[in-house]
Amino acid sequence: MSQTVTPYLEMSQAIMEAGGEALKKCYQCGTCSGTCPWTPITHFNIRKLVRYGQLGLDGIEDFMWGCSTCRFCVERCPRGVEIIDIVTAIRNVYSGGGMLPQSLRAFVGSLSARGNPWSGDPDRRNDWAKEKYPVYAPGMDYLFWTCCTVCYDPRNTRLAKAAAEILNLAGASWGMPSLDVNCCGESLRKVGDAELFERLKAKNLDYFKAQGVSKIITVSPHCLASFDEDYGADFEVVHLSELMAKWIQEGKLVPKKDFGGLTVTYHDPCYLGRHSKVYDAPRDILKALPGVTFVEMERNSEESMCCGGGGGGLWTEKAKGERLSDLRIEEAMGTGATVLATACPYCITMFEDSKRTLNVDEQIQIRDVTELVLESLEISIDEPVGDACAV
Amino acid sequence: MSFEPKILGIACNWCTYTGADLAGTTRLQYPQNIRVVRVMCSSRINPSFIFRAFQLGADGVLIGGCHPGDCHYNTGNLYARRRLAVTKKILEFSGMEPGRFRVEWISASEGNRFAEVVREFTEQIRDLGPQTKFKISQ
């Protein structure tokens, strides 16, 4: 790096115009970087990113992809800076200049061409359902929003099916989207492609409007947060775990299976916890499962660790030793748990990967709360439960 | 000539008027369409003042008082809140555009809030155009 730099305030201005207005508020106290889960293990430094942004300094592009938008810093920032907006704005400004890393190009390309990040055929979006489940029609109570990841990623289609069965069992009036929708665009927005995000959003909103959708259930907290934070539309959106907790409490769902002393710990997905402030529902569910011993990790709830999958992290390669999901699995195993439960397809994917690379298949299972509920209801979905390959 | 709204402000001495002064002291800029009458308390504001202001040709009327609970006279603004709410309803039912009358709680320390409210309100009145309903033509 050169010894002298010149502040390039035009860049700073561009970042602010792209939504990073909050740059101005930061007084560089280091609370964000002291809180950020990446600071101890990588060179990524969120405070520096903001500082570079404030002065428009060169070199910002070297580390602007490090943030997984876990929102921990935002919660703690004494100046109330919406740091994620800054990150998004910086990425928007610089990736517009062609600075998108290779690994994210496929992701953006797939979203642009096929409306999902997994290079899936848009016509086969609902293939997981095998025509067993209803498509949303006006008059139904809920649209069950199937995240692209649960539609296309073989490991996560189990999640979609489990959710569908549970919705049926609880007697809800629901349907899944037709093929007229595409990805919610949450991660894409955080990666900085505001233009494409608006396109995806518009298509979904058109569908919601045409169908008169007023209530949406999501399995992915990322869709949940996106609808809530970015869509600004007049529909209600709720995460399936909230409904499941309610239904269990109301007796609409009665967990039967005795898990026989299974020790389960719970990882708060950042987008369900810190972004959407849902902490209790998944815990209430786990505690209601017969024969489950629920244990907490040291970092839980508001202080939960990030899996690293947000903000495009799911599609970015990280070197060994720089993976938060690895650390999190170790922390989970440290509690004596044999099941690491979570409530997000991204977390599931990250943990399944880490479990394999850490070679701890025997010691710990990764399960979504939804899957555990289905199991407790003693319903099986018609396919073997096993590890699928990552895409 | 473009439409320059006439906006009457009525501000309580202790909070909003002082807040407006603070906006000046900190050199915040806002449109010059507002002319402020100082009263000691927002509760001094007789509803007829507002009807009269519109008759005199005000395009908008902005009332400012202390935040509820912070009234210099303890409870004045709590009465004002009710009385002005009724005033607003009467204006509305008579056919006056509801957007022309606004009540805001602005404390002595909220200079920027004063400027912001004036900016916003002026813009709103500009969009509504000249007030012709109550105005007494000369």
């Binding site: 280091g30 002291g34 004494p78 | 002291t25 010059q32 202001a53 005199l56 006279y73 303890n74």
Partner: protein
């Protein structure tokens, strides 16, 4: 027909830059009843004032309009000019073309146009202004001081030394406040007790001070010059007129209470004096800790008391005092940092707050002045975390002002009393004060480590379970720091007393968003409040150090003296009155007045107003359906005329 003079001030370029002042004066001359209109560079200067005075005489003016800065700034100045020229001071109108015109626009056309409209309104209103006479009332020469910390003590002593009678009310059983808890004070490191206890003793001995400990103000009536203050004497269960302070009772008492004085670090007896130098040196019984009150038997203290001073039957009593002025000096609390889970206060025994550490240093404290942890060990490494809850939008946005300096003091004392390594985690070092920067430099040279980065988290150490780890980024190197320590000291936000809102309500004070009492003007009237005759001093107004607090106490005493030194006092004349011919006897005014000024005269069948109680808010005038109530200086006519003028152009 009135004769109005209009005086337009340039305020240097403050006004003249964005208002064409000479054009404004020319415009004024065209307005009805205006006989003279002038502009001048500084109207508030002596020549400016003289110009107005001369014109009043020369042109036989009976109304004066000064078109200048805010009335909150110079209304009083110009009223005096009128009074000195033999004109009733309420015949003045101020047009605010600085704060509300010239400073808020860059456009001279817009500025001039608005100034004209405002001036037009003022002329209309001025024509309807009426001369008002102020009421003159007798003044009670005594003063009430609320709060017996260093601010209250100093203010009480100053006033008492001028010969005025002072009631000093303190809710605890001793005076001294937080300062009595400290061991050393920055930056001189002189001993807190050595400078404070002689003052406490002077209060006790002073013939003009009536010290009222274990007391709280429960009701405030009246107004400046004539407050009626009801004070609740809380039951102490010890008759202090009989007690000879032998303290035999405290020896024998088996009860255990939490020592507030030692910040809960140790227990004290149920009958106790908070600390050996307490004033008064007489014990009280903590009802919640007393065996007799809890279990119905014990009374050991009663048995050993030769003076028969123990009185379990004692009840709260109420006394009313009459005073002319009040000084409120109720001090502060520290923020309860348990809500900031990331710092582990209340969870890890090694995490302390600043006041607890003050007690650890104090030779009269729980450890006898030795710095040891709760397990008795001496810490090897200590981290001091600044700005915990202060400068934080999620908690308190203000800077608590003294933390940087006391953290330096702590660092010095830790170095002096232990062999520990000391680390400061800070955002910015604020050492603005006489001798403060020098003190900072001295501490740097004492090899205290300064880490520029706010402490982000305190956790239990994974490797050594009885130690803690402080996590933060050293923003200077950009490195993440995990620092193993034995002791963490938090510098929590300084916040108003928990009952500050109640005090504010009693004395009718405004508060800022966190509950600190608002001064009338930050620069021109920093110790006055919106309540006439009530002054504030010390941290109840905003965080400050001891020198500033003491300076404010002197100032507040002088302010109070300006009232009680007089026999008579002139009050604002802008009160309300009832026109009995129009009164419809609906009694709305009686129902709404917060001060009980209007009352219904059954004989005459109309409402009347006790002007001594009226504060001139005008609420009664607006709820009076037949417009029978006249809010002087803000009459319906005057407001309507002003509106008419403002909206004409």
């Amino acid at each position: 027909m009135s004769r109005i003079g209009v005086f337009v001030c340039h305020c240097g370029l403050n006004i003249a830059k964005t208002v064409r002042v000479s054009e404004l004066a020319e415009f004024a001359a065209t307005l009805p009843d205006v006989v003279v209109a002038k502009d001048y560079k500084f109207m508030c200067s002596t020549p400016g004032q003289e110009m107005i005075a001369n014109d009043i005489k020369e042109h036989r003016l009976d109304r004066v309009i000064v078109t200048a800065c805010s009335p909150l700034m110079h209304e009083q100045t110009f009223r005096k000019v009128l009074a000195a020229s033999g004109l009733n001071q309420y015949l003045l109108s101020i047009v605010n073309i600085r704060e509300q015109v010239s400073w808020v626009t860059h456009d001279i056309d817009e500025g001039t146009a608005k100034a004209k409209a405002l001036l037009n309104g003022a002329v209309r209103r001025a024509r309807l202004l009426a001369p008002l006479t102020s009421r003159v009332i007798d003044v009670n020469s005594d003063v009430l001081v609320v709060g017996g910390g260093i601010a209250g003590i100093q203010a009480a002593l100053e006033l008492a030394n001028t010969g005025k009678k002072v009631y000093l009310v303190e809710k605890n059983s001793t005076i001294g406040g937080h300062m009595a808890q400290f061991d050393k004070t920055f930056p001189t490191l002189d001993c807190s007790a050595c400078i404070l206890t002689p003052k406490m003793d002077s209060v006790l001995q002073h013939k003009n001070i009536q010290l009222m400990t274990s007391c709280e103000v429960s009701e405030v009536k009246g107004f400046v010059g004539n407050f009626d203050i009801t004070i609740r004497q809380k039951a102490r269960y010890v008759d202090h007129t009989k007690c000879n302070a032998c303290l035999a009772c405290t020896e024998k008492c088996p009860g255990k209470g939490v020592s507030e004085w030692d910040e809960g670090l140790v227990k004290r007896k149920a009958i106790y004096i908070p600390f050996p130098q307490a004033v008064p040196q007489k014990p009280v019984i903590d009802r919640d800790a007393c065996t007799f009150f809890k279990k119905g038997k014990c009374r050991l203290c009663e048995k050993v008391c030769e003076q028969k001073a123990i009185d379990f039957e004692q009840q709260d009593t109420f006394t009313t005092v009459k005073v002319g002025a009040v000084i409120v000096a109720t001090g502060y609390d520290l923020m309860d940092t348990r809500s900031l889970i990331q710092y582990g206060y209340g969870k890890y025994p090694g995490v302390y707050n600043a006041l607890e550490v003050e007690r650890l240093f104090n030779s009269a404290g729980p450890t006898g002045g030795k710095v040891t942890l709760r397990d008795g060990k001496e810490p090897q490494a200590i981290a001091i975390l600044h700005c915990i809850g202060s400068r934080d939008k999620n908690n308190y946005e203000h800077c608590s002002r003294v933390c940087c300096m006391y953290s330096l003091k702590f660092a010095h004392l830790f170095k002096e009393k232990t062999s520990a390594d000391v680390y400061q985690f800070y955002i910015d070092m604020r050492a603005a004060g006489k001798g403060y920067e020098e003190f900072y430099n001295r501490i740097i040279e004492e090899d205290v480590k300064f880490i520029r980065g706010k402490g982000a988290r305190v956790a239990q150490s994974a490797d050594e379970p009885d130690r803690l780890v402080v996590e933060a980024e050293d923003t200077i190197t950009g490195k993440f720091i995990k620092l193993p320590v034995d002791m963490v000291v938090l510098s929590p936000a300084i916040i108003p007393r928990g009952d500050a809102k109640d005090v504010a309500r009693l004395f009718n004070l405004s508060t800022d968003k966190y509950g600190f009492f608002m001064e009338r003007h930050p620069k021109l009237a920093p110790l006055s409040t919106m309540s006439e005759g009530v002054f504030i001093a010390g941290v109840c107004q905003s965080p400050k150090d001891i020198p500033d607090t003491v300076a404010q106490a002197y100032g507040a005493a002088a302010e109070a003296l300006t009232i009680v030194v007089k026999d008579k006092l002139e009050l604002e004349a802008t009160t309300a009155m009832v026109n009995p011919a129009s009164c419809c006897a609906c009694q709305n005014c009686v129902r709404v007045c917060p001060y009980g000024a209007p009352f219904f005269n059954e004989t005459k069948g109309v409402s009347e107003i006790n002007e001594a109680l009226c504060k001139g808010c005008g609420l009664c005038a607006s709820v009076c359906p037949p417009s029978a109530i006249i809010a002087r200086h803000f009459t319906n006519d005057q407001v309507l005329a002003e509106m008419e003028g403002l909206l004409e152009f």
